[in-house]
């Protein structure tokens, strides 16, 4: 029916063999395979039930609480993002360096990347208290938040990995179409293969476009992958918490990711080799070569671990010492840490260090141990730090702790099952060893609104008072006098307190003049104060002299209103019959602090709603470089399809 099925390109016997054997892996599953998928589905189903329980009841059903507010989900997130590095490393780095032995394992590696990323990103959504508000991250996203950096880089990585995985599958697609048609597979499957084939038939032009696309992707995906695990580490590194706020966290996590990714790839290779009998392609030599890499990575990760914890321990800062005690001392975490150090670093090292002793069994054992260990290590990076906050919780009578619940364990198991399920299904639809590549091998601050109070969030009543003060102060200034009597209180027997500001011998003073029955009152105790929001602030007390006057130095250093106006009070303390009588005045000459509010909006700062220009520029630049490369690659795919269509027309003619 289609041109591809009629194509019969000449092939070497080896290529023919690869094609036949790999297409055979796509045959319908036997009983064991179906049981495997059923088991994985069952685990995923149980995890779904656990997640629904969590959605209904809230995160209370987890073991997380206010101190240890992140737990297994976050551990899984970091772990899966970590093993996603398997794909990039093996495929891209080896492709860029033309390491020919990579060919049979590239697709297996790239698929790990895609599925691990999907599961890892889901873990973050599962961890959210309000997954229904996920879109807020786009609608209200703040570029200063490391979470936004993660969203950007993980989405970029996921897109790139998809493209990369797919581009490298295109030349296999025509073979899949032929095989599916021949074996009478469902029609949708044939159509799927056909659509994905893009009319590829290996013309020189198509090969050129394909190699261009693969070359560009292989180069760009490496920095993207490095950035992903760097910003994952920065979720922790950008906080100031002991154990997290470390300058080596970026590289430490990147090395850890490649380390666990390589181990995951070896484990996957071992499983596929056994399940699909791929001994011919996944040779012992492949395992040994990867084992050499794994030794180097084990040593590197040991070195980074030593650097991180030795400096922390030696420095001995109080908060960090508390963490080190918990993490490595006599506690369950200490037991887990040393268990990891022995089984996750030293035993694998012992198994792999001597090239002559690297049996296949040893390599696979080491890889599995490393995978378990790295999951544990992620947990140990997270939880003990959350248990040792700066202000010790114990001093408030709280003992922070964390015991994961069945919900968290079920969802964790579900995450692993989902990963294996996706991986298995992928290997059912597409050959897990790249046929063509393997075959080739043989060859604001707003202005204060003047409007009246609106709704229930009316401006409080002290605002009008301030406006009054301001107006009075401005009036005082307009008259030009530094002094103005604002109010006089009349008391029993026509007593009055007049309050003025006077300048004598270059010294400003607040002067209260008390008169009773028209005559100056001697011996009255006057308390001077300044009006403040909640209550008056006392300046001092003085007794009136024979002229009825008492004074205190004018508080010229106190902040006043926008124009330096200050509301002052003088109150009679004694004699008792006049106590409580006041004189008030608005005086000028105080410090101006407040000034007029600016309408410039909030400042540019990391904490502000307006991100620093540098942050915006850096993120925009990086995203632009990567995404324009993706556009270039997609353009090559369009060219492949166009070329295929041209050839098809000429063929039909």
């Amino acid at each position: 029916m289609s041109w591809t099925s009629r194509e019969a390109p000449k092939k070497s016997p080896y290529a023919q063999q690869v094609e036949t054997e790999m297409l055979a892996t796509l045959e319908p599953l036997g009983r064991g395979g179906r049981l495997w998928i059923a088991a994985l589905l069952a685990v995923c189903g149980f995890a779904l039930f656990a997640y629904i329980t969590q959605l209904v009841n809230g995160l209370r059903v987890t073991g997380m609480r206010d101190y240890v507010s992140w737990g297994l989900y976050m551990t899984n997130f970091v772990f899966f993002i970590g093993i996603s590095h398997a794909g990039t490393l093996i495929s891209a780095i080896l492709r860029v360096t033309h390491a020919e032995w990579r060919r049979p394992i590239t697709r297996m590696a790239e698929a790990i990347t895609v599925f691990a990323l999907i599961v890892g990103a889901s873990m973050i959504i599962i961890d959210m208290g309000r997954p229904d508000r996920l879109l807020n991250v786009i609608v209200h996203g703040r570029l200063s938040s490391p979470i936004l950096w993660d969203v950007c880089s993980i989405m970029t990585y996921l897109t790139g990995s998809f493209i990369y995985l797919y581009v490298a599958m295109i030349p296999d697609m025509p073979m899949l179409v032929r095989a599916a048609e021949k074996r009478g597979r469902p029609r949708w499957l044939v159509q799927l293969y056909q659509a994905l084939a893009l009319g590829y038939k290996g013309t020189p032009a198509q090969e050129r476009f394909l190699n261009r696309a693969l070359g560009a992707m292989a180069v760009i995906i490496i920095p993207v992958a490095v950035s992903v695990h760097t910003v994952v580490s920065w979720i922790f590194g950008m906080t100031v918490r002991p154990g997290w706020h470390s300058t080596i966290f970026g590289p430490y996590f990147v090395i850890g990711a490649i380390f666990s990714g390589t181990a995951a790839l070896i484990t996957a290779m071992a499983l596929f080799r056994r399940a699909y009998h791929l001994e011919r392609y996944l040779t012992d030599d492949h395992f040994r070569k990867l084992a050499t890499l794994l030794v180097a990575l084990t040593l590197l990760y040991t070195y980074f671990t030593l650097s991180e914890y030795l400096t922390t321990w030696y420095g001995g800062l109080a908060t960090e010492a508390r963490l080190i005690n918990l993490l490595m001392g006599a506690s369950p975490y200490g037991a887990a840490f040393w268990f990891w150090a022995v089984t996750g670093l030293f035993i694998p090292l012992g198994l792999l260090i001597m090239p002559s002793k690297r049996s296949l069994g040893a390599i696979i054992t080491a890889s599995v141990l490393i995978n378990i260990g790295m999951w544990l290590k992620r947990f140990l990076i997270l939880v003990p730090t959350l248990e040792t906050p700066y202000v010790p919780a114990q001093a408030a009578g709280v003992t922070p702790g964390y015991t994961p619940t069945w919900v968290e364990w079920a969802i964790t198991a579900g995450g692993f099952a989902a990963f294996m399920l996706l991986y298995t299904l992928f290997s059912r639809l597409f050959p897990i060893v790249s046929i063509w590549e393997t075959a080739e091998d043989a060859g604001t601050t707003e202005k204060v609104p003047a409007a009246p109070p609106r709704g229930r969030f009316a401006r409080p009543t002290f605002v009008p008072i301030r406006a009054l003060l301001l107006a009075a102060g401005l009036g005082a200034l307009a008259i030009g006098g530094a002094t103005r009597v604002h109010a006089q209180a009349a008391g029993p027997g026509d007593a009055r307190v007049a309050l003025t500001k006077e300048v004598r011998d270059d010294e400003a003073q607040l002067v209260a003049t008390v008169t009773a029955d028209g005559r100056p009152l001697k011996g009255a105790r006057i308390s001077f104060s300044v009006k403040r929001m909640f209550s008056p602030m006392t300046l001092g007390e003085e007794v009136t002299g024979s002229d009825g006057r008492a004074s205190v130095p004018f508080p010229s250093t106190l902040p006043g209103g926008a124009k330096g106006e200050l509301a002052v009070l003088a109150e009679i303390v004694s004699p008792d019959r006049l106590a409580g009588m006041r004189g008030e005045a608005i005086t000028a000459g105080a410090r101006t602090v407040r000034g007029e509010p600016t309408s410039a909006g909030p400042p540019r700062a990391l904490w502000s709603s307006r991100a620093p220009v540098g942050v915006i520029a850096a993120i925009s630049f990086l995203l632009a470089v990567v995404w324009s490369t993706y556009v270039f690659v997609v353009r090559q795919l369009v060219l492949i399809k166009r070329d295929g269509e041209e050839k098809r027309i000429s063929y039909v003619r």
Binding site: G58, R60, R130, P131, N136, V240, M537
Partner: protein
């Protein structure tokens, strides 16, 4: 001089209720008449005030759906203010009244106080002291830095608030806060009910929402009414002060207003963990010449102050 708290709250409820009944207005509300249902059937009508000042009749039996909260105004802060708080550790006797009053005022569950009382002793040789700790409302807030959606934000008046209608519950702010000041709604919260008694809406922390963070809001809705925050007002020791930095004055429960800068200078005021660079707006006066028994000393308050905050008679 000011609207009483009750009236304020009630007016507010009426206004928000009415705002919510934009729907109700479409739904048969009309200018207030004699209070009877003009159609003669169905429930009687009541009068509500719309935000633009009109009185409309609303069917009583149709409770308005929860209003869509508008946080624009609340994000700006109280105009012209810059709040500061001072705790005088020499006066604090560890009674826990602040914890109790705060929890009561904000309806916080027992294990999730917004202010906590710590029995501190930095090392065995050093003096023990009581350490009440609310949110520090930092000027360089680590929580606001990391929030992916701007649900927690810093206002011009210095207060750091949480918009629980926007929070996605990632808990990054909790991990980033070096002072453990934030708590989370792990479960479906029980919100206080009864109209007229409780202010709800932006800035009040109420209603609580499942899967969101919350923390001390410096009693922003009380400050708007020129009232002292719960923890300040309740302190019999007069150990807690609040004020406006622009006025260089802070006030305690006794109504004593003192010069903020002078208080810090004379009493060697400090901020907790100053070297973290977070610039808290909450200051402490060291427990020099302490007037009350420190934690562990004879006569000191005992028991779990954070859980029940029992006061001595």
């Amino acid at each position: 001089m000011t609207m009483g708290r009750r009236e304020f709250v009630r007016a507010g409820l009426l206004a928000t209720g009415a705002a919510a009944t934009g729907l109700a207005a479409r739904n048969g509300a009309e200018p207030a008449g004699d209070g009877k249902n003009p159609s003669g059937e169905g429930p009687p009508e009541t009068v509500a005030l719309t935000p633009d000042g009109q009185l409309v009749a609303v069917r009583e039996a149709k409770p308005a759906p929860a209003p869509r909260e508008d946080w624009t105004e609340i994000r700006r802060g109280i105009p012209g203010r810059k709040w500061v708080m001072v705790f005088d550790l020499a006066k604090c006797d560890g009674c826990g009244a602040c914890v109790e009053a705060c929890s009561k005022g904000h309806f916080t569950p027992a294990d999730r106080e917004w202010i906590r009382l710590y029995k501190m002793q930095d090392s065995p040789e050093l003096a023990p002291y009581w350490f009440p700790k609310p949110c520090f409302h930092c000027d360089n807030p680590p929580c606001c830095k990391v929030c992916p959606v701007g649900a927690t934000f810093k206002r011009d008046d210095g207060i750091v608030l949480v918009d629980n209608t926007r929070c996605i519950g990632c808990r990054f702010c909790m991990a980033a806060c070096p002072y453990s000041s934030r708590v989370f709604n792990w479960t479906r919260p029980t919100n206080p009910t009864g109209p007229g008694h409780v202010a709800t809406g932006p800035g009040t922390g109420l209603p609580r929402r499942i899967g969101t963070t919350e923390k001390c809001d410096l009693c922003e809705s009380r400050l708007r009414e020129s009232q002292l925050p719960h923890c300040v007002a309740v302190c019999d020791m007069n150990a807690v002060y609040i004020g406006d930095e622009h006025e260089d004055a802070v006030t305690n429960a006794a109504g004593e207003t003192v010069q903020f800068s002078k208080l810090l200078r004379d009493r060697a005021g400090y901020r907790h963990l100053e070297d973290l660079g977070t610039h808290p707006r909450v200051f402490y006066l060291p427990p020099v010449g302490r007037r009350y028994a420190a934690p562990g000393e004879p006569g000191a308050e005992t028991g779990d102050v954070n859980a029940h905050a029992g006061r001595k008679p």
